[in-house]
Amino acid sequence: MDFKPRNQKDQSLSEIRYTYSARNLWSGFLFGIGLVAFIDEAIFHQLLHWHHFYDKSTSNIGLVSDGLFHALSWFATVGSLFMFADLRRRKGLWLKRWTGGVLLGAGSFQLYDGTIQHKLMRLHQIRYNVDILPYDLIWNIAATGMILIGISLIIRTRRSLLKMKAEGRYAQ
């Protein structure tokens, strides 16, 4: 990090954003993972009863990966929100970059769930006793859409970061 402000007064908004751009991205990414995991578990498992946490005798790896992912998503949700609060109190919150992180995290988890867990490891399917194709299509296309929008937001904020950095050099 070669853009260290000399003191607190020098720190303009863009400089703070520059300092905390990675934390914005991480906080959003982790929150996105937690959000989708929570929606999946609360709505599909518990409210709609479309599928359950143990649908068939799964492989041991499936069980372990599921447990790890569940634990990670709990920690990610709480931890990312505390990071969000930390960014706010440092006035370093960059909502556009954070949202990019959320969409990338949410989309990545959903696509992983929809392809690896549902299809490759066959842990469970979205629904049973119906034609599953439309459900799979909606789930995975929504995931891909989130990833694409997330990445475009991240690229755009990165561009303005690079621009800021260049201007900062001129100013010095």
Binding site: N7, L63, L68, W74, G79, A85
Partner: protein
Amino acid sequence: MHSNGHIQNDNGALFESILLILPALVIVIYIAAVVISSRRYQKWPLYRTFSWILGIICAASAIIGPIANRAHMDFTAHMVGHLLLGMIAPILLVLAAPITLALRTLDVQSARRLSKLLKSWPLRILSNPTIASALNIGGLWILYTSGLYGLMHQSALLRALVHFHVFIAGYLFTASMIYMDPAPHRFSFMFRAIVFTISLAGHDILSKYIFAHPPSGVTKEQAENGGMLMYYAGDAIDVTIICILCYQWFKATRPKESLAL
């Protein structure tokens, strides 16, 4: 057969009355310490006293009373008791900061001896998050995947040992994750977060494993109910620990604005 049951009952009654005195005694000692130390120092926060009383009641209700009695035949009741003893009571007792209170109350020499004990190498090993997690989660794996669960209901001594282990390991685990008391052997937030996530995963995997593979002497239906309870209630309690851990991080990393100017 009949007389055997009778003798067991007599022993049980004696055992129960001892078990009833112990928690009451621990609560009285804590309150006495609060009174003594509040005279000398700042007032001891009321929530800590409440937390201690509630924690002791939770732990006691897992060993004596209706839940404990039903636990012999009902796996779900056993799991309720396990949650009270191994998860809820430890959090409440850690939040009550008993070691801080002891250090404030004891005379200087005894307090020094206590802090020396806390810094000793056996406690260094036991308070290591990885060791504490292994004792806590590993102990549960052994209990529910070996024949131990079935044996535990035949021997009162074994049952007492298992309860003791679940309680102590739960307390060690919680205390190694959230530092409410002085902790001489500290670990970074990141390290504790990683270890905690792995142990939470171990807990989740075990509860699903119980759901599918009933422990010895447990019916399929009971194992499913108990496994689900362990999964969801365990989550709720673990999220509380995560929130406390993250809040401690949030406080510790507060930017020092006044110094920058």
